[in-house]
């Protein structure tokens, strides 16, 4: 094996700079991109994408370089005909490839990490951990190496299944790119499984000289091709769906958004808005008052003069802990103090500090101060739910898992405005959202934890302020008033669209929710008091979805059963939640079995249709490929789980066997058998022509003839 490693390194080391230089260029470009925070999030130049692109290219080229030239018969013989096994030759190539890949891709990343660590946070909010997603993608991208070996060495049609391994490797890189920032360990597991699968298949193809004659190799190719086929088919369906929807979703180039909202009277209204470039946001142009149990979409009228929506609080999803994310920007605007000097504030979750950067010219940023928050804020990094905003005085309001803080722009100490009660445990997930009002009130903030909502407000009218509890005076604001509202059970368990103070009745609140069981069917409007007592509850038809919007659980049935099962298992493992479709149908089956059955029928039909197509296809293909019963059964199982894509993989794994007329019975018979499958006539018997000259004293050879090859 040492010899092969040496040979591969001697042969291909010269290509390293071609991979290394683009990597270094991209890393330097990213570093010089003038973004204060060096990470993946909200960046115009995504490090992971660039690294994924370059690393995939390096792995692909390396794989081709290491396999294509050695496909020439003479080179193939010189490589393999020596006192080593084909297995050792493959391992030699793999290790050499891995070493070259590491030098070209991983070393620049390590170098960058060391550079970042040495620079520190003086001029950039940067940490070596920011390179973690990119490092994971670069590992996943190595899957392109065995994929290219498979493409080059496997005996198949290029326009058939030969390019499929490359598709699979690309999908794995893309999937890791998408998942690495959210579910890092899942992305790690996917890339590891994919690389091992591709390596196993490539190894068998290499050892079997272009064929896959063994079970393990066949399994590897089957998985690879099935994955690729499913991806290709999904892409085709997606493109068709996009094309189909395109003319329906636009109206003269204007995209409309329908929403249920509070009207000026606090009642629910259906609004239609369009994106206004002038306002850089959505503007309402048509409205209709919603009526219980009736669709009002057709009754939309142009919005009248003076009509305005009731101010409401919207719930925002918060940031969650992600690998490589140590820093978070506390707002994207620059705050200017009296001297006109611009600053940026960055939350450092590792130091539990707010970093104050002064904006200059060269260097562009300089760390001015570390504002170490008082002890209660020290749990910033744990829940990682934070949101910030400037108030009118230019102070930052920072919302974290522990509470709300004010960071004065004067650089003074951080002040606690509101501390989250210590008994509140669920601040993450669907019930632990924080939210803020969208309008530009001086200070309005909504916090939700468990079944309670806390409103933090200033500038309240005297009547409302009288009911609210004062938080006292603090920087930039005279007084912050706190109101705590208990949510009714129906609201706490639902998906909230909006929350508002009732404009007509004091001590009363309004809420618009969607039923998690029938979120696409109806909208609930509720009026309740501070103690969570419901005073009024109405149900309206949901007209907010466009007619063309693809919805409904039945569509999940189009996913192959195996993928569905794996996806559901991963969801349960990762989040501990049951897949939404199952939960919804299960809940509905208790209250309305007929509706549940109607929902379930198209889903089951689609789900069953896939094995119904896939299994006959397998039976037909297995007969054509002359598979034995055991293999056919295995493939039937495969088709059951992966539908027609699984069946088509069979055609890729088993090459077509040529048939020729038998000399005995003249029926078409397999050429890879020693004798005719119909009449037993030996296929090795060739008619003598009388010109053959063989040794007179040669004995009959004693090798037992067996079918070979397939």
């Amino acid at each position: 094996m040492k010899t092969i490693i040496w040979k591969e390194l001697r042969e291909h080391a010269r290509w390293i700079p071609l991979g290394m230089i683009p990597m270094i260029i991209f890393l330097v470009l990213k570093w010089r991109s003038n973004e204060l925070i060096f990470d993946e999030y909200g960046s115009s130049l995504s490090l992971s994408s660039l690294v994924g692109l370059v690393a995939s290219g390096v792995a692909l080229c390396l794989g081709i370089l290491q396999s294509w030239p050695d496909q020439r018969p003479a080179a193939h013989a010189l490589l393999l005909h020596r006192g080593i096994t084909a297995n050792a030759a493959f391992c030699g190539k793999l290790l050499a490839g891995l070493l070259l890949y590491t030098i070209a891709v991983i070393v620049p990343l390590l170098g960058m990490a060391m550079f970042i660590a040495s620079v520190g946070i003086e001029h950039r909010a940067a940490s070596p951990s920011a390179l973690l997603p990119a490092a994971l993608i670069s590992i996943a991208a190595f899957g392109c190496w065995p994929a290219s070996l498979l493409v080059v060495q496997r005996d198949a049609w290029f326009l058939g299944s030969r390019l499929m391994p490359a598709v699979t490797a690309a999908v794995v890189v893309l999937a890791c790119g998408a998942l690495s920032t959210d579910v890092f360990w899942l992305a790690c597991a996917i890339s590891l499984v994919a690389i091992v699968g591709l390596l196993v298949a490539a190894h068998r193809v290499f050892v079997d000289s272009g064929h896959v004659a063994t079970g393990l190799g066949r399994a590897g190719v089957a998985v690879t091709v099935t994955m690729a086929l499913m991806t290709v088919m999904s892409c085709v369906v997606f493109v068709i769906e996009l094309y189909r929807r395109a003319p329906a979703s636009s109206n003269g180039g204007v995209n409309y958004l329908y929403a249920a909202d509070f009207g000026p009277d606090g009642e629910p209204w259906l609004t239609r808005s369009f994106y206004s470039r002038l306002m850089n946001g959505y503007e309402v142009d048509q409205v209709a008052k919603m009526l219980p149990g009736r669709s009002v979409r057709e009754q939309l009228q142009p919005v009248e003069e003076g009509w305005r929506q009731l101010d409401k609080w919207s719930i925002f999803m918060m940031y969650s802990a992600r690998p490589g994310r140590r820093f978070a920007s506390l707002g994207n605007t620059t705050v200017a103090n009296s001297s006109g000097q611009a600053y940026h504030l960055v939350l450092d979750t590792r130091l539990d500090a707010v970093l104050l950067y002064r904006v200059g010219i060269n260097p562009r940023y300089r760390l001015e101060a570390k504002l170490l928050p008082p002890p209660p804020v020290a749990s910033f990094g744990e829940a990682n739910t934070h949101m910030s905003r400037f108030d009118r005085a230019g102070n930052f309001r920072l919302v974290s898992s522990t509470g709300v803080y004010c960071i004065p722009n004067s650089g003074a100490d951080v002040e606690l405005i509101y501390a989250v009660p210590s008994e509140s445990k669920h601040l993450g997930g669907s019930r632990g959202k924080f939210g803020m009002q969208a309008n530009d009130a001086p200070f309005e903030l909504l916090l939700r934890h468990d079944d309670r909502i806390v409103l933090l407000e200033s500038d309240l009218d005297s009547e409302t302020a009288a009911r609210a509890q004062s938080l006292g005076e603090f920087s930039g604001l005279d007084e912050v008033l706190r109101t705590e509202v208990r949510l009714p059970h129906e609201v706490a368990t639902a998906s909230m669209i909006g929350f508002a103070r009732d404009p007509l009745r004091a001590d009363s609140y309004l809420c618009l929710t969607q039923d998690p069981l029938q979120h696409d069917k109806s909208i609930h409007w509720m009026r309740f008091d501070e103690s969570g007592q419901i005073k009024q509850h109405e149900l309206y038809d949901n007209d907010t979805q466009t007619a063309e919007v693809f919805g409904g659980e039945w569509a999940v049935g189009a996913v192959p059963p195996g993928v569905w099962a794996i996806g559901a298992a991963l969801l349960i493992i990762e989040t501990g939640r049951t897949p939404p479709g199952i939960a919804r149908v299960w809940e509905l089956s208790k209250s309305d079995p007929s509706k549940a059955a109607a929902m379930l029928f198209p889903f089951l039909l689609l789900l069953l249709l896939q094995p119904m197509i896939g299994i006959p296809l397998v039976v037909w293909a297995a007969r054509r490929r002359s598979l034995d019963k055991w293999s056919t059964r295995q493939w039937i199982c495969w088709a059951f789980w992966f539908g027609p894509c699984g069946s088509l993989a069979l055609l890729a794994v088993y090459p077509r066997i040529l048939r020729e007329p038998c000399g005995g019975c003249h029926r078409a018979t397999r050429i890879n058998l020693a004798s005719c499958e119909h009449c037993g006539h030996s296929l090795d018997e060739t008619p003598k022509t009388g010109i053959e000259i063989f040794d007179r004293n040669t004995n009959t050879p004693t090798i037992v003839t067996q079918p070979a090859g397939v």
Partner: protein, 309 residues
């Protein structure tokens, strides 16, 4: 022939590339200690046969044994006992001559550095010469040195003289002769140069269109093939009456016949066509070329006769 006296044995070896059969039901024995020449026109299936023998290509059906081991599962130990010189003297261009030695030395336990060095000297190749920068003949020398210095029991050579000048060619043949002098060495050499075969080979195997037509000792082959000259031209009907007819050429009112496995019946059939027919001495080249002409294709003699008229 006893099993342990056979270095290479194939049984019903068949290989298809798509719909084309490159080799059909080939059954061949290569005895130990002898030099066997494998002859055939381009595309006859010689290289395919060698690749299957070395386990570098799986057969469609049939099987082969090399030094008693199934060719599809050759162990590193068996491979180390077999030297192989690929067609075209392929070497990686980045290699230096000394790199070639390193490549072989570590994977062939019986590596003979002295032999390698002396062969390089013979071909005028310096150890630091890069393969991409030496002449074709010198590359052939390095390639041959790499193969012979592994001290193989069985040597498989695919057209070793290809592209060589007469001097280098003579050197290669003499090198092989010296190598074959030891009784336990077996050589299977695939070549188009029939005078090399005459000097080197003990046995001859002719492959045409994927079929093995001849597998015999050189003397036996010569004995069983005969040539006649007739002072007349004749048609395909008459030619079809001659058993074992391999080749027929007509020119200037004369007809030259090459017949395999001739006996008194053959002679009588020829005399019936023309009473003036007389035996003609055939060189090895004449005999082999008779097999390699398109007319020697099975079942197509009559068509060829029509064509020559």
């Amino acid at each position: 022939m006893r099993q342990d006296n056979i270095a290479i044995r194939t049984q019903g070896l068949t290989r298809y590339f798509g719909h084309n059969a490159a080799l059909r039901s080939l059954t061949l024995d290569v005895p130990r200690g002898q030099v066997t020449a494998l002859i055939g026109h381009n595309g006859a299936g010689k290289t395919t046969l060698i690749r299957m023998l070395l386990g570098l290509l799986p057969p469609t059906r049939g099987r082969a044994e090399l030094l008693g081991c199934d060719s599809q599962s050759l162990t590193p130990e068996v491979r180390a006992r077999v030297g192989y010189l690929a067609e075209g003297h392929f070497l990686w261009g980045w290699m230096k001559a000394r790199d070639a030695a390193r490549l072989q030395r570590e994977t062939f336990p019986r590596w003979d550095q002295t032999l390698f060095d002396s062969m390089l000297e013979f071909f005028g190749v310096a150890p630091h010469s890069r393969v991409a920068q030496i002449s074709r003949g010198q590359r052939a020398g390095v390639s041959l040195a790499m193969t012979l210095a592994t001290d193989p029991e069985l040597l498989v050579l695919d057209d070793p003289s290809m592209g060589l000048d007469p001097v280098a060619r003579r050197a290669v043949v003499e090198g092989l002769l010296a190598f074959a002098r030891r009784d336990d060495r077996t050589i299977l050499v695939c070549t188009h140069l029939l005078d090399d075969v005459e000097r080197l080979a003990d046995r001859i195997a002719i492959v045409s269109n994927g079929r093995l037509l001849v597998d015999a000792g050189l003397a036996e082959f010569r004995e069983r093939i005969g040539g006649w000259m007739l002072d007349a031209e004749f048609g395909s009907q008459q030619a079809a009456q001659i058993p074992g007819l391999i080749d027929l050429r007509q020119a200037r009112g004369r007809t030259h016949l090459v017949v395999a496995n001739h006996d008194s019946e053959t002679e009588a059939a020829i005399q019936r066509i023309s009473g003036t027919a007389r035996r003609e001495d055939l060189t090895l080249e004449d005999a082999v070329l008779a097999y390699l002409r398109p007319a020697a294709m099975v079942g197509s003699i009559s068509e060829a006769l029509e064509h020559t008229r």
